[in-house]
């Protein structure tokens, strides 16, 4: 009986955090960005799971990737789809909410509740759109630090992030060295490769060549949806792999058609669906902002050597690369750890077999989950 119950109401499963409600922290002071610009106030939306212990030593910070958000576990009331990392986070799961207090904020510049281009600029009464300052990974982390100060958290047991989230946790261990105990970097890079910048540029071009683009000053209900959907379709391919797509769809056909623009293959249908659903939850200006934040992220710096950035790091670090990930491939993750090891830091590198490309860091495998559990323990 109880199994049928959890099937219908998965938030009641013993390893689920259950129904969750997002929180907002309104910071009424100015925030200065890396590029020198500032906004007068900002809101940061976040979710927390589990309980902060007495000595405030069990906090885990989750940093989300480009298209992610603060809702990484449990269910929102009335919804049947859980948060994006629900397989990883919950009571008894690798990020165990019966032991840890998990915090996941929506990134600065985002469009899911934290102040970003689609938010109203209090000075003009209109959305910021293109007037929103250029965001860097460092700016995102600075805003997260303000949230943690507000929550009374002075020590993070671990900062965890994949992809763009991995960049943020690296920034954390550099900028707030003394605060971070452990850092878990998943499928990430210390510097966006030229190929990745190239892919992002195709996505950005699709957006600003959309007839509704209007130089970023579009009506919220009539944005550059076609461009954004195409950007997402193409980016989505970079998150997967040839083998992954092959085994998921093969050359299966949805229908035979004479019309060249109709959906014919299953994979086409899948990508169009990905594009469409993305448009409903994402803002084009945020997409431009975040892809630029990714592209300009470069811990190698002017001396072209990661060791300068990592000089003062004190955290214990684990990076995991996934064999089939060709967006942030194993060697880019390996290089992060090699640089840390050359400096004598406490760092480890593991490499996992996977079929599904970059998105492998979101999928459950025993080896992967055991590793995460062991590292956080």
């Amino acid at each position: 009986m109880s199994i049928i119950q959890t099937d219908k109401e998965p938030w009641k499963a013993p390893d689920n955090v259950g129904h969750v409600i997002p929180c907002d922290y309104e910071h009424k002071k100015p925030l200065k960005f890396d590029n020198g610009q500032a906004i007068q106030e900002f809101n940061i939306r976040y979710e927390t799971y589990g309980k902060l212990n007495k000595d405030h030593s069990n906090a885990i910070l989750i940093c989300h990737a480009l298209s992610g958000d603060h809702h990484c576990a449990g269910y929102h009331e009335g919804e049947t789809k859980p948060g994006w990392w629900d397989n990883m986070i919950g009571p008894g799961k690798p990020i165990d909410t019966s032991r840890f207090y998990v915090i996941c904020p929506n990134c600065l510049g985002g469009c899911q509740g934290t102040t970003g281009p689609s938010s109203i600029n209090p000075q003009t009464g209109k959305p910021y759109n293109q007037d929103f300052p250029r965001v860097t990974i460092g700016d995102m982390v600075r805003a997260q630090k303000i949230l943690l100060d507000h929550l009374g958290i002075t020590h993070i047991h671990a900062a965890v992030g994949g992809s763009m989230g991995g960049m943020q946790v690296m920034q954390w261990m550099i900028d707030y060295t003394e605060m971070v105990g452990r850092v878990l970097i998943l499928a990430s890079t210390a510097r966006q490769s030229t190929q990745s910048i190239a892919f992002n540029e195709v996505g950005r071009s699709a957006i600003h060549q959309d007839p509704n683009w209007n130089k970023g000053d579009y009506d919220p209900d009539k944005g550059p949806d076609t461009g954004l959907a195409i950007a997402r379709m193409m980016a989505h391919i970079t998150y997967l792999s040839n083998r992954g797509l092959e085994s998921k769809f093969g050359r299966d056909r949805k229908q035979k058609t004479q019309n060249l623009t109709d959906v014919e293959f299953e994979v086409e249908s899948y990508l169009r669906h990905q594009g469409q659903t993305f448009v409903n939850r994402f803002d084009a200006n945020t997409y431009l902002l975040f892809t630029k934040a990714l592209d300009t992220f470069d811990l190698y710096g002017q001396k072209d050597d990661l060791r300068h950035a990592f000089q003062n790091v004190t955290a214990r670090i684990l990076a995991i690369g996934f064999i089939s990930d060709w967006l942030f491939p194993p060697e880019e993750n390996r290089e992060i750890i090699q640089s840390l090891l050359k400096l004598g830091k406490n760092a480890s590198y593991a490499e996992l077999e996977s079929e599904l490309g970059h998105d492998s860091f979101l999928l459950e495998t025993k080896e992967y989950f055991d590793l995460v559990r062991a590292f956080l323990d």
């Binding site: 090891l341 004598g344 760092a347 480890s348 590198y349 593991a350 490499e351 080896e367 590793l371 062991a374």
Partner: protein, 204 residues
Amino acid sequence: MVESRKEEAKRRTDQMVINQGIQPGDKVLDLGCGRGSLLQLLIQEKQVRALGVDINPGKILECVKKGIPVFQGDVDLFLGNFPNQSFDRVILSRTVEHLQKPGRTISEALRVGRRVTVGFINHGFWLNRMNYFLKGSRTINDVYPDPWYESAPVTFFSLANFEDFCRKKNIRIHARVCLDANWKNECRILPNLLAGYVICDISK
């Protein structure tokens, strides 16, 4: 391959010998660290700053569980990336026989480490010779339990081979400990014939 309990017991003496050569607080690199049991011992006994390298993901997990820094990957690729004399001690414990190019890896280990410990099975051991002489066949025992067609490629070499290599490459052997057939007690006479296991402390 799961190590049998018997083999684990054998390795204990080996680890104790290696431990004796380590200075407290040394920076130690264990190439082919397996599940990290040697490094764990060295951390407990000598508070070393440990780092392990292994290619097997299951063994990496065991090291992470023990909290030992570990790098998953090929030993040669890893060494090539490191500056000279980065470690006080580099350990190759039963690793050399699995290497693609043992000579190259040992000289790389001598480059990144001030001192190198090499522990290896002596294939000049009399029983191995007897098996070849009488049966014309390789020894099957606890350490090599699998028939040839089911085991990974292994380079067999003897103590005499190793010492000859060191002479040719101008490698100094500072200390040498030879263990008997059960890797338990020290073997002092005719080691190339009677020793089952050898541990050498070397440098350039």
